[in-house]
Amino acid sequence: MQLLVNIVVLAAIYALISCGYVLIYRVSRVLNLAHGELMMLGAYLLYSTASLLGDSPITALLMSALLGLVAGILVYLFLMRRMTGEMVLAAVLCTIALGVMLRGITVLIWSAQVRHPLAALGWSNPSLQILGDARISLVNAILIGLTALVYAGLFGFLGFTRSGIRMRAAGQNPLLASQRGIRLHGIYALAWGLSTFTAGLAGMLISMDSSLDGTMVMLGLKAFPAALVGGLDSLAGALLGSAIIAIAEVTLIHYVNPLLSDVVPFIVLLAVLVVRPWGLFGSKEELDRV
C-alpha cells in the first residue's frame, strides 16, 4: 500500500510541474526550458515571504503564490513578448538564457545554502497514517489535493470560460484569433502567469516537504518527460504521462535498482516517442509544425 501512496505522490508532483510546460506550449508553441528555474523562484519567494511574515503564514503563502503569477506575467511582458512572431527556436533559446539568469540571481540573493520554508512558516509536517499501514506527510497530502484542484481548475478554465476558450483559439490559430479580436499578448501573458503560478506551487510544496536548494532546477527537467509522454499540448496527457512515469520510477526503485530512477523517465519517453512521436494524447499536426 505504501508503494501506491508513493506512486500517487510522485505522479502528483510531476503532474503539477508538467502542466506549466503544457500551458505555454499549447498557447504559444514555445518550450519553456526555464520552467525548473521558475519553479525554484516560486519556492524562494515563499522562503522570503515566510521569513518576512512569519507571524502570518497564510498571508506569506498567498503572497508568494501571487508573486509567482506576477513573475510569469512580467517574464512575458519584458522578455517573451519581444519573441512573438520570431522563430520558435529563438524563443526557446531565450528561455534557456532566462533560466541561466534566474539561477544566477537566486544564488546572489539567497546563496547556495539549504533553506527550509516550512520552518520559516513555523509549521510542522507530520506523518499521517492512511490506507492500512501506509503513511504520507501532511504536505504531500496537500500537494495531491492541490494538484487535483489545479487540473480541475485548468480544465474548467480552458473548457468553459471566455478567456480559456480564447486561449485555446490563440493556440490553434493565432492569426485567425487575432483577426477575430482576441488580444494575443494578453492571452500569452496570462498563459505565462498561470504556468509560473503552477510551477511556483510545485516548488513551494516540494520545498516545504523537504528543503530548498539549487538542485530544484533539475526537478523541472525530470518532469519534462511526463509532459512529452502525454503529449506536449494535452493537459490530460500530462496527467497520464505523470502517472506512467511515476509508476515506472517507483516500481523500479522498489523492486529492481534505485539507480534506475534517474534514467527510467527517459526510457519510457523513448519508448513512447518511437511508437507515437506526438505523445499519447498530443495532436499530430501540432508536433509536425515544430
Binding site: L3, V107, A112, S211, G214, V217, I253, D262
Partner: protein
C-alpha cells in the same frame, strides 16, 4: 555571497602582476549543485586568510588568495587551475569542491609541479597512505574507509540486539564507494546488510527510497553522502514510520541541522569539534566572523578554518621568495595544531599526506536538554 562573488570577479580581473605576496589559488564550488556543502568551506578559508593578513600575513608578507568558482564542473576547475599556475604564479593550489573537479586540478598540479591541497569533499585515494602522490595533500575531514569503520564500530557498541543495517548513498561515485565499503565490512562485525539505496542528487520525493529501506526492517541506517541526501533520507524514513537509529557523516551544515530535525535517533559522525563545545578557537572564529558579514552560518566554518591553518603553517616554513617546490617541501613534513577543532594535530610525512590519526566525535539531539549534545568523545582511529 555577494562579497564572495565580488572577490571572484576581482580575482579574475586582476592577475598578480608584482609577486609581492604568497599566492594561493583556490577552486571551489561556490555555486552550482551541492554548493551548500562546499561554499561554506571556501568562505571559511577566505575568512581565515583575511584575518591572517590583518595580523601581518606570513613572514611579513601578505597571502593573496585567488578564488575561482568551478560550480562542481571539471572543465571550470581545469580552467581555474591553469590560470592559477600560468597567470597568477600560485605556489599552492586548493580544491574545495565536488570530487568531479579533482581530476583536472590534479593533472594541472602535476604538469606544473605545484602542490594541491584538498579541503572540501572526500579525500581521494591517491592521497591516502602508504604511497601518497608527492604533490597531493588532504585537510578534509571525511574519509570513506575510516568514516565507515568508525560508524560501524559505534553502531556495534550501541546495539545490544543483532544489527540489521540499511545503507544510503547519493548516486555519485565517491558516495557509492563509501557505502559499498561499509556493506563489505558489516558482516565481519556481525551485522547483516539489509538494504542499500543510491539516491540521485535531484530527487523530488525521497519516500520511495525510504520505503525500500524500511521494508528491509533495518534497526540502524548508515549514510555517507553530501549532507542534503543524508538528512532528507532520514526525514523520509521517519515519514514512512521507521523508528530505528541513523548515523551519518556530519558535514558542514550538520550542527544546525541536528538542532532543526530534533530527533534523538539521528547521529552525526564528526571529525570537527562542533561549535556547541565553545572552545577558544570557536570564539576566535566567531570574532573573525563578526565583521565579515558571512553568507553562511559561523557553525559551518570549522572545515575551512582548518584548511586555513594548514595554509598558514605551510607558508610559514617557506623562505622568501616562495616557490611551489619550497611549499611542497614544507608540506611534506608538516604538523599543524588545530587548537581543538580536531581531536589531534594534522601531521604529514613522506608516506602519509592525510593524517596519522583520525579522530571522531559523535553528536545527536538530546530531547531532555533540548540541545545538540556530544554522545561520544574523541575516538581515535589509526591511519595506516
Amino acid at each position: 555571497m555577494k562579497r564572495l562573488l565580488a572577490a571572484l570577479t576581482l580575482a579574475a580581473a586582476v592577475p598578480v602582476l608584482a609577486q609581492d605576496a604568497y599566492v594561493v589559488g583556490l577552486s571551489g564550488a561556490v555555486t552550482g549543485p551541492n554548493a551548500d556543502t562546499y561554499a561554506p568551506g571556501v568562505e571559511a578559508v577566505k575568512l581565515y586568510i583575511d584575518q591572517l593578513n590583518k595580523h601581518g600575513g606570513v613572514n611579513g608578507k601578505p597571502v593573496k588568495l585567488i578564488i575561482g568558482d568551478n560550480q562542481g564542473e571539471p572543465s571550470k576547475a581545469a580552467a581555474d587551475a591553469k590560470r592559477f599556475v600560468t597567470q597568477d604564479n600560485a605556489v599552492l593550489l586548493v580544491n574545495v569542491g565536488l570530487s568531479s573537479s579533482y581530476g583536472p586540478m590534479v593533472a594541472e598540479a602535476k604538469r606544473a609541479r605545484v602542490p594541491l591541497l584538498f579541503a572540501g569533499a572526500a579525500c581521494p585515494g591517491e592521497v591516502l597512505p602508504p604511497n601518497p602522490d608527492e604533490l597531493l595533500f588532504c585537510s578534509i575531514a571525511a574519509a570513506m574507509k575510516y568514516d565507515a569503520d568508525m560508524a560501524l564500530r559505534f553502531i556495534k557498541e550501541q546495539s545490544k540486539e543483532p544489527v540489521k543495517l540499511g545503507l544510503a548513498a547519493m548516486a555519485i561515485p565517491v558516495s557509492r564507494a563509501g557505502i559499498d565499503y561499509a556493506e563489505s565490512q558489516a558482516p565481519g562485525l556481525g551485522m547483516t546488510p539489509a538494504a542499500k539505496v543510491q539516491i540521485p542528487p535531484a530527487t523530488p520525493d525521497y519516500t520511495p527510497y525510504a520505503s525500500k529501506i524500511k521494508d528491509a526492517e533495518p534497526n540502524w541506517v548508515f549514510s555517507w553522502a553530501p549532507w542534503v541526501t543524508e538528512v532528507k533520507t532520514f526525514e523520509a524514513l521517519r515519514k514512512v514510520g521507521w523508528n530505528g537509529r541513523y548515523i551519518a557523516a556530519a558535514l558542514n551544515p550538520a550542527e544546525d541541522e541536528l538542532a532543526r530535525v530534533r530527533d534523538e535517533g539521528l547521529h552525526g559522525l564528526s571529525v570537527n569539534a562542533m561549535f556547541l563545545e565553545n572552545m577558544p578557537v570557536h570564539q576566535q572564529i566567531r570574532d573573525a566572523a563578526k565583521g565579515a558579514s558571512l553568507t553562511y552560518p559561523v557553525t559551518q566554518m570549522a572545515e575551512g578554518w582548518v584548511a586555513g591553518m594548514i595554509i598558514e603553517q605551510a607558508l610559514k616554513a617557506v623562505a622568501w621568495p616562495p616557490t611551489p617546490e619550497k611549499v611542497l617541501t614544507a608540506m611534506s613534513t608538516l604538523k599543524v595544531d588545530t587548537k581543538g577543532l580536531r581531536g589531534g594535530p594534522i601531521e604529514w610525512n613522506k608516506s602519509n599526506h592525510f593524517r596519522t590519526k583520525q579522530y571522531y566525535r559523535i553528536y545527536r539531539w538530546d530531547a531532555g536538554k533540548k540541545a545538540v549534545t556530544r554522545v561520544q568523545d574523541w575516538t581515535v582511529v589509526d591511519v595506516e
